[in-house]
Symmetry: C2
Amino acid sequence: MAEVGSVDVLIIGAGPAGLALANWFRNSTIRVLLVDKKPGPTTRGQAEGLKSTTNEIFETFGIGAKIAAESWRLEEIAIWGTRKDGGAGIEREQVIQDKVDELGKIRETMLQQSRVEHHMLQNLLPHSNIQIQYGTMPAPVKIDTALSDESETDAYPVVVTLTGVTSDEETDGCCSMLTSSLQDFYGNGTNEEEHIRAKYIVGCDGARSWLRKQLNVTLEGDLTDSVFGVVDIVPKTNFPDIRRVCYLRADTGTILLVPRSNKEVRLYIPVESGSALPDPKDLTFERIMDAARRIISPYKLEAGSVTWWSAYRVGQRVGSHFSRHGERAFLVGDAVHTHSPKAGQGMNTSIQDAYNLGWKLRLVLQNHIQSNAAAAQTLLRTYESERRPVALDLIAFDRGYLKLFAAPSAKFDTEFLRAMKFTTGLSTRYPPSCAVQLPAGVASPADLGPSLLKADLVPGKRLPEFQVVYQADGTTTRIHARLQATGAFRLLVFAGDIVGQKQLREKLERLGAQLAAPGPEGLGELTSTPGGDADISVVARVETLLVHCAERDKVELLSLPAVFRPWSEMEGYDYWRVFADADSAYEGHGHVYERLEIEREVGRAVVVRPDGYVGAVLEVDDFEGVKGYFKGLGMLP
Amino acid sequence: MAEVGSVDVLIIGAGPAGLALANWFRNSTIRVLLVDKKPGPTTRGQAEGLKSTTNEIFETFGIGAKIAAESWRLEEIAIWGTRKDGGAGIEREQVIQDKVDELGKIRETMLQQSRVEHHMLQNLLPHSNIQIQYGTMPAPVKIDTALSDESETDAYPVVVTLTGVTSDEETDGCCSMLTSSLQDFYGNGTNEEEHIRAKYIVGCDGARSWLRKQLNVTLEGDLTDSVFGVVDIVPKTNFPDIRRVCYLRADTGTILLVPRSNKEVRLYIPVESGSALPDPKDLTFERIMDAARRIISPYKLEAGSVTWWSAYRVGQRVGSHFSRHGERAFLVGDAVHTHSPKAGQGMNTSIQDAYNLGWKLRLVLQNHIQSNAAAAQTLLRTYESERRPVALDLIAFDRGYLKLFAAPSAKFDTEFLRAMKFTTGLSTRYPPSCAVQLPAGVASPADLGPSLLKADLVPGKRLPEFQVVYQADGTTTRIHARLQATGAFRLLVFAGDIVGQKQLREKLERLGAQLAAPGPEGLGELTSTPGGDADISVVARVETLLVHCAERDKVELLSLPAVFRPWSEMEGYDYWRVFADADSAYEGHGHVYERLEIEREVGRAVVVRPDGYVGAVLEVDDFEGVKGYFKGLGMLP
């Protein structure tokens, strides 16, 4: 590693957050170094639940199918309580489906953290611009505080000293052996010190974050009274719902039971304040199991084998800042927020934090923010303004979740559905900013009228998932799987019924010409791919996509405006930018216009950010509105 | 490799057939050696279409999802003909869906042969009992003909001399470099000769099979008059249906156009006898393209890049024998049948041949045929009696397919649907044998009455695919994905409405007790897994599965007979053997009883062979019938 004197992005920590961040820089010339004090990839991690929004992220990295193939599904939740007839022991009260209807797909799957990390890591291997160095940690207090004065994009204000870690210092849950083919890729930590300069540094280094301390960021909040015992076991039990998520509420305490891969099961056993076991240090595996056995009685419960167990006091804290030093240093995931693991939010939120930051860094480092350096910093500042409120919401949710756990069943259904929506991320809405723009004359999201905006198609919310049919070959795709993490924005033109409505066809022709036109009047600079350029990092900054709802048979792809089927001298037309809202051979009809409440005779244009969030919602032919969005962001002068 | 003096199975050829065969021996102690004269895995192959039955095979190998994730789907077929108004050029006549309704899933996907081989090869890596040696070929005429006299299962009647191939002899389409980690696994071909003894030898060595010649097996049939030009190109074209399968029929000739991965397209251009280009040797790429351009006119067609092209005369021939020497030597795939590539049947049929043979060899080599050596040979003989008729049907189909290609459109739809069913394998029915048993008193499949057997649930046909819901957790599975290729038979008990029908519940209890009972009266020897045995090859010879159609909420898994939820001291109960024919959260209702025409008040028991074909169809409580099947096969005395 001696030859690496400088990188564009230095990422501290190669866990879920760091690996997700690094995945944003595939197919680019941005130089990225991940360092991790562990001697190699983890072979085990405690996290396992993957929310649908996280799975969508994996799809945009091109590893969604691989992860889905290994994942387990959980679809039922059983509620157990004390017996109604007053007898001893518990009985099943009800079984509910773990499902949010408007999501239209699986809400949550299970895959252990080490396999998730494995797939994200493998996805980096072909990309020589991204390097990982295990067994390495930054030496304390060597980060150069002068970085705060720099504002030029091309400066390297971060200076860090890296040192090797001898592998016996930190081997918990890590493999200490690397296969020879991986060694080439990873590089070895040495005991020599080396200095490295970086344009940006990102701390993905977990709850005891080194970078957080360097940046003097404090965690605000408290350790709670809640002490949890957690065990991962292969149970030997006659409890009938062992393969369902279960809430067991007995007089003697409560258990949250979550099936994991194969026959393994996780039990969370909260030990409230005032109980006989207030200090986590006093908890042993057998005492936790004894408590569990008292709750699950009259059923039997033994551990056939034990994979992991722990006891801890829940801290619910959020960092005072998510970025420092003029947006040159960032904190991601557990490094800036801690909470209970019960809602399965840790790994998901960490990955989603990283996903929010990555495209912004890529955009800035590729010099796509052209107006001035301040615009770049303004964009990077939205990382904190968008993600810190999510962390605060998560803490608030986490507090309520403990109470929900003990609530009477009557309220449970509706409360639980609300919780499921929250944990799935469906209620997240980022505030207005340069990247989330409201229509002219609208001051706040609350002022958005129903005439322009449907509740789910709102600037700042995630583009709702939907299924469309490719015009070219009749196969289907879900939209987020199509929106690969290339760093490109997308203009999604819902052109309406372009066969039945002549005026819509005319609007489309006009918009198509404007989008393709070169020079300051048009948007050609952003929508066109420099042809024949060998630089793999060059993709169009804005990819133009069309979703019509006309009869598919009556639309000929090659008659549509050229911007939606660009020509390449090497490969002919691009056939995969035009979609129909139509029936399919195997997956039914997506009913996109209906789901998004877009009128078929009116249409709509939507700017989608590289991370799949809605940047702006516009009239179908509002070309000036489209330009205005990219001007506001600094991508146009 | 000098230390390998003997193996159980010697496989000649590590293409799709050889790799599929080897996959049957995972998780066993059977010693397998694949040898291939190629210096390493192929990086390219011409085959690409995967039929649903082949994809089901990959699912049973545990690699279905990985292959599906990389595959492309083809769902529409466009028919083009000369213009009806008498003008020059072609016009679109119709577009039909590439779909067989009763299949209930995708009929065909596309993935290039080298990736298919890659996944099958990777799947072997963890299994040290299976070795691959590239750059190695058997020396001619050294196979010991004495093998025909041996009949003991434990004998090694095959003796072959292996020699190394210098890599410049045969490098077409192969990678000559192996990564270091793969080197360990593959072994290197040396130029030294080595002698190897084997119990069985299988020729998966393609159309110019070495083993076929050694065995004096002749190919019967003819080279046809049909000369084909085939090109794989990335087209630059304004032809609108370039991403659909197209049949183009112009006055100047015909083209079959098949989209491949990404933007690549394959064109088949048959040149009939009497044309100006009768000899394949006279065909050049440009002459083929010129012919294609004349047919596709008025549309333009250029090759942006050319991946592969060829010209050849179609041979339609089938081997006189599929096995020789007392079923000690076998021929699989292209080694015993050749035909035109147009129906996309080559790779599929090769894999399906291997899939038919593999479990039979495994059963015999694990000494599960206990009655006598003759019974083992009788089972192995069914490889030829089951697969040779399929090859003959394929040749007959192939002849008709050329005609269909030129047939008028009116007949095309129904003929084409029939062709799709044939090529999907839905019309295959193996004849009665020790492994395909008809009910007592029924002499031929034609005599099967509707009272006992539904058309698709017939001994000798593939178990129809269906979806069920796991009783334990409410998730779904398709049945073939559940029937992993472990070598186990399955007894599928369609127990009916065991809540509403008391007599069905009683029948189930009785059957469950009989299936679990030890000794000569019961079937415990076959249905139980020797507990705590460290030998990974030990699985129950017959896995007992239950599909009920009662209200799922009213069935408690642990109240069912123990044989359907066996207990393990290490892991507790097996939760994944009981299914409900019920609605699911995300995939709807499988309607299994309706699809298979099993009466809910009557039920049915089905013996499913390790390869997913129906071995016997019985009354739901016909325990003697179940025993009779395994007696007939030689697995019970």
